[in-house]
Symmetry: C2
Subunit: 337 residues, 2 copies
Amino acid sequence: MKIAIDAMGGDFAPGEIIKGAVAGAREYGVGIILAGPEETIRAELEKYDTVGLDIEIEHTDEYLVEGEHPAFALRKKRNASIMVATRLVKEGKAAAAIGVGPTGGVFAAALQLLGTLEGLARPVIGGQFLGFAPDTIMIDLGGNVDSRPDQLLDFGIVGMVYARKWMGIPNPTIALLSNGVEEGKGNEVVRETYELFKKSGLNFTGYVEGNDVAHGKANVVICDGFVGNVVAKFCEGLGDVTAGWLEKTLESKMSKAETGEIITALKRATIPADALGGGPLWGVNGVICKAHGRSKAGEVASTIGTAKRAVEIDLVGTFKTELAAVRSGINIPGPNA
Amino acid sequence: MKIAIDAMGGDFAPGEIIKGAVAGAREYGVGIILAGPEETIRAELEKYDTVGLDIEIEHTDEYLVEGEHPAFALRKKRNASIMVATRLVKEGKAAAAIGVGPTGGVFAAALQLLGTLEGLARPVIGGQFLGFAPDTIMIDLGGNVDSRPDQLLDFGIVGMVYARKWMGIPNPTIALLSNGVEEGKGNEVVRETYELFKKSGLNFTGYVEGNDVAHGKANVVICDGFVGNVVAKFCEGLGDVTAGWLEKTLESKMSKAETGEIITALKRATIPADALGGGPLWGVNGVICKAHGRSKAGEVASTIGTAKRAVEIDLVGTFKTELAAVRSGINIPGPNA
């Protein structure tokens, strides 16, 4: 299996991306195709032991830079590294592609080259972002802002499939994130979406509030990408600040090694980038995984693991089957279907 | 000074409200007027030592119940306990009023009876909700959903005044919460609001992301009430779950008392209800403080302290002066003006 990676995306590209690609190639036993300027990539690769690894370079001089509008920039940069990586999937030369950033660029390339699955208006980003609530996923985490009610319903269907097929939860509960559980709460879109879910036949349990997320009150928590992004990043920031405070507080009470273990566990549980590694873009007609823009080598490597697994279980094919089943109103097949 | 309290609002009414009122009356040396059914209140009051305290009852049989639409319900229940408490402020019989819930009811009563300050479309809820970022406030935390850009700008002005006058920050920075800092990020409303702030003459520093909040990157973080509510409650939930995990993790490593201290500090830093006690409704033409719906006696008591301070520094009068100054484009007077 070959996995294509945009070597030029994210805050720490290309250094950490390439370091992570090497680590991931070894750890998961997959071939890697790095898309980006050949000389730059080669210079980075020379820093590591790549003996016995299947790592190729797909040269391109173009890549997205921070600050430019991704979708707009891609119209000019037809050979931007994220486009090249994604095209390898389209052409069947790679089983999956990984993009680290900017998010909009990963989405735009996937949309332009692969498109969405039938019946889905747009692809979504989601996943388990909180280690303390391992059976809870949140969708959307940033890909879709200003989502319409029917798009939020799509998120619910995708989340249900993911929770069952990827996480092995037989009959996942789906809830809508709101600013209260009482009637009349929610914003305009959320209230309309509530009515759609009620009619959907999904295992919909109603509204959950912000505090319910960490408590794992639902398996699939649905929200607009703006809200999901803010919450996921807030989670990371709070985890980080809490860990810093805890480190100082515990300093005088236990050994440095003991403190270090606790801090590492806390960060792992609260930093989505660490917990997730990277998530597949659900709803795209091919396996495209998006890693956090601040990903370092460790997260890039684990995203390679995620991409490999998505290919192995045929996540995309399963999405298609299940979406068709839900949408046609047929009884949803069991978790082993 | 007399402070009126709706004895029937919130998840733990009337028991915890009345217990907190007694504690607050003693701690802050203020008179209390409890609005609600006299017999019920009297029965609760009998449980405590109230000797030397100035506690009155303003009888009413009506109060809001969970599940009804607050603004709608208040049209029928003209003597709901929150209306009675707020009316005491309007009539000059109380210097401030406290409502514990539902939020919509506290807002609706304030709006109907006191109205907003000139130039403000709606009142807002905000405050320091994170102990780890004591110089950062977020607005709106739940009162206003589907806010328009001009309303979000209002939140910025109110937050600036609050940060200067209440928190003593000379030239507070104001930032807009978004799903990224790059151009093109934000949802439709946030992008429009960005342009408004740029023109406002306020000390506007641009977008901040979710992770910047805990790091205290801006003094005043502006967001729609739906987002603010979800984030504040998420913060509480994550703090709670982290504290539970930490308690177990530290169990074998230190004494129960030492662990208890750390847990208490962590909860205090991450639970908005604990950290805040309760916040004033900014922009209302009178001092109305809203406590978290899940408030117990401790939070009710500290909200009494908050209300007392708001009266003492003439927060409402200062809001009026400062808003007029900002809006007329005159140089904003210094923090001691």
